[in-house]
Symmetry: none
Subunit: 199 residues, 4 copies
DNA sequence: TATGAATGAGGCTTCATTCAT
DNA sequence: GATGAATGAAGCCTCATTCAT
C-alpha cells in the first residue's frame, strides 16, 4: 500500500491516483475528514494541491472513491447472504466473512466509525447504511424475540469493538480475533436458537 | 435590543451560558464539532459571536464544559463501582446505572460516538477514555478467559448500540431498553460465570 | 464620495460599507467585474479581505447593493412616467430626466454598458432590463410605424453614446450634453410626430 | 482516440483550428471572455486543453485571431470610405455596408459590445477603436454643428441597437433591418444636410 | 452583558500554462 | 496533431478570535 516498488524517488507513472487515495485514507483515519486539508495530503505526497484536482474533482470525491473501492466486498457479502438459506450455518459464515472484510479494509472502517457525523452528510452515508441494514436483515429473523434481534446486532458490534477498542486488552491480534469471533458466533447462535426454541 | 417587550421570548436571567451549551450540544451532535461554527451557534441564539466569548474562552471550552457537566455521573459511577465488591450483582448494577447515565446524556454520548476523531484530539478525550477504562476494569476480571473479557466490553457496546442504531428495529423505546438490558445483563453474567467456572 | 471628512487617516466609523461600495464601483467600472478581485478592493481600502465579508455576504452582493442604491432613480422615473399622459411633453421630459439620471450614476451605467455579459448572469440583470423596457414602453407607441419605434430607442441610445463615446468629439461636457440632448429630443419628437401624422 | 469510426462526427481534416475558433466565439459571446475557461472550450470540442495550445499560443491569441479574421471587412470598409468623395451618397453607402458587416460578424460584435471592459485591455481594443474612429471621421464633417456630429455617431449606434436590443420589438429580422436602416440613413442625411445648410 | 468591526490564517477550487511523450 | 500529468498563482470564502466601546 503506497509502497514504492523500486525505492527511488517515487515513480510517477500512472499510480498517482492510487497514492492519493492511500495517503488520504491514512490521514482521514488519523485526524478525521474535516481536519485533514488537501494541502496536507499534497505535501505528504510531494505534489501540488492542483495535482489532486487533476485526479479528483473535489475533496469529497476522494473519499467517495475510497469508499466505493473498499466497500465493494461488503456489498458482495450482502448479495451472497441474500441467496443463502437462513440457516444458522449461513449466519455464522456471514459473521466470519464480515470479520474478514472488516480486517481487510480496517482503516476505512475505522474512519467510518470515528467520523459518523461526517459520513452521514456525505452521499456515501446512505449506501453504507443500506448495506449494513441489508446485513442485519439477513441475520435477523423479524419474528424473533426482540432480545434475540438485539443479539444479532450485538454480534456485529462486537466485531467492530474487536477491531477498534480491544487493542489494549490483548496485544496479540490473532488471539484477539479468535476471542472476538467466539463471542460473536456465540451471540448469533443464541439469537438463532432462541428463535427456534419458540417453535 | 435585548429589551424584553413581552416577557415571552426572553427568559435571559443570566442563563445565557446554559443556552449556549444547549444549542451548541444540539448542533455538535447533529453536524459534528468541526462543521459547527460559532457563527451558527450565535445566530441560533440571536446573539453575536462575540457574546459567546464573554461566556467561554474558546470554542473548545464550550465542548469541554459540556463534557465536564454531562459526564460527571459517569465519573461517579466509576467511583462507586471501585468501592463495591467484584460480585456479579455489582456488575449487573453497573450495567443498569450506565444505561441510565447513557439515557440521561444521550446527545453528548451520541456526539462522542459520532465524533471520535475529534474527541481524540480534544483534551477531553483522555479523561473520557480513562473513565471508560475504569468502568471496563471493574467489569472485567483480568484473569478471565479472553472471550469473557470480550463479553464484558460487548455488554457496554450493546448498550450503545441500543441508543443509536436500534431505533428502527423497535420503535417503542421502553421495550427496546428492556431487550437491550436483557442482552447486556446476559453478557455480563456469562462473562462472570465463565470466570467462576474455571475455579 | 468616499472623501474623508477630516483628512485624517480615514475615520473608521460607520462608513466602511460606503467606502467599500465606492472603491468597488470605481474598480468594477475601470477593469470589469471579473477582473477586479476582492484582494484589490481590500488593499485599496487598507483593510483585510475578511473585512469586506463583514459588510457583504459575497462579491456579488457588493455589486447588487451598488446596483440597488444607484438604480433607484431609474425605477422612480419609470414609475413617474407611467402616471403621465402619453404626450410629447411627457416623453421629452423623460428624455431629460433620464439624461440626468445617467449623469448622476455615470460610473454604474458605464459599468453596466461595458460588462453586459456579466450583468446578464447576475440577478440584477433582470431588474435592470425590466426597467429599461418600462422606459421604452412609455416612450414607444405600440401602434407607431416600426421606424418610429426604432427612433425612440435610438434616442435612449444616443444619450448613452453621449456619456461614453463622444468624449473625444468635444471636450466641453456642457456643450456635449446640449448637443446630445438636441438630437435625442429631436428623435423622440420625430417618433411622436410620425405617429400623429398617420392619424 | 481520435480514430474515426464512422466518418460522421469527425471531419477533422486539419480544421481543428477553425473549430476552436467557432466554439470559442460562441462561448465568449455567451458568457464573456473571462468567464469562459479553456477547459470549457476543450470539453465542448472533445479535446484536451493542451490541444488548444498546439493551435494557439495563449487564450488571448484565440480571441485576437477571431478578431483579426472577422474584423477585416471593417478595415476594408474604412479603406474604401477614405478614397471616396465626402458626399451624402458615400455616407449612406457606408451605413449600408457597415450594417452588412455587422450582420456578417454578429457574434463577434455582440461579444465586443458586451465585453468592452475586457476588450479595452486586450491589444485588439486599440485596433478596433481606431477603425471605428476612422469610420466616424469619414461620416463626420469636423466643421459641422456639434449636434450633427452627434447624429452621425447616433446613426452607427442605431445599427448596433438594431442588432442587439430591438429583437423584442419586432421579431421579423428583415423588417427590423429595414426600419433600422431607415432611421440610420435618416440620421446621416440630416447630419449631412445640416452641414450643407450652413453653407 | 454584550456588540460592532476587524483580522490572520487557512480552506477548497479554478485557471492558464508547460512539457515530456 | 494531440494527450497526460502537473504547476504556480490566484480566486472566493469561512473560521476562530480579539478588542474597544
Amino acid at each position: 500500500m503506497g509502497v514504492t516498488m523500486d525505492g527511488t524517488k517515487q515513480q510517477r507513472r500512472g499510480n498517482t491516483r492510487q497514492r492519493i487515495q492511500d495517503v488520504a485514507l491514512a490521514l482521514f483515519a488519523e485526524q478525521g475528514y474535516e481536519k485533514t486539508s488537501l494541502r496536507e495530503i499534497a505535501e505528504r505526497l510531494g505534489v501540488t494541491k492542483a495535482a489532486l484536482y487533476y485526479h479528483f474533482k473535489s475533496k469529497e470525491e476522494i473519499i467517495v472513491s475510497l469508499f466505493e473501492d473498499l466497500t465493494r466486498p461488503l456489498g458482495e457479502l450482502v448479495e451472497w447472504g441474500r441467496q443463502q438459506p437462513p440457516t444458522l450455518e449461513t449466519k455464522q459464515e456471514i459473521i466470519r466473512r464480515y470479520s474478514a472484510a472488516l480486517a481487510a479494509a480496517a482503516p476505512l472502517f475505522r474512519f467510518m466509525q470515528e467520523n459518523q457525523a461526517t459520513v452521514r452528510e456525505l452521499r456515501i452515508g446512505d449506501t453504507f447504511r443500506q448495506r449494513m441494514m441489508g446485513l442485519r436483515n439477513i441475520l435477523i429473523d423479524p419474528d424473533a424475540r426482540l432480545a434475540d434481534q438485539v443479539r444479532s446486532v450485538s454480534a456485529l458490534f462486537t466485531l467492530h469493538a474487536g477491531m477498534f477498542v480491544l487493542q489494549d486488552i490483548e496485544s496479540d491480534p490473532e488471539k484477539r480475533r479468535e476471542a472476538v469471533m467466539e463471542v460473536a458466533i456465540d451471540l448469533i447462535t443464541q439469537a438463532h436458537q432462541g428463535t427456534r426454541d419458540r417453535d
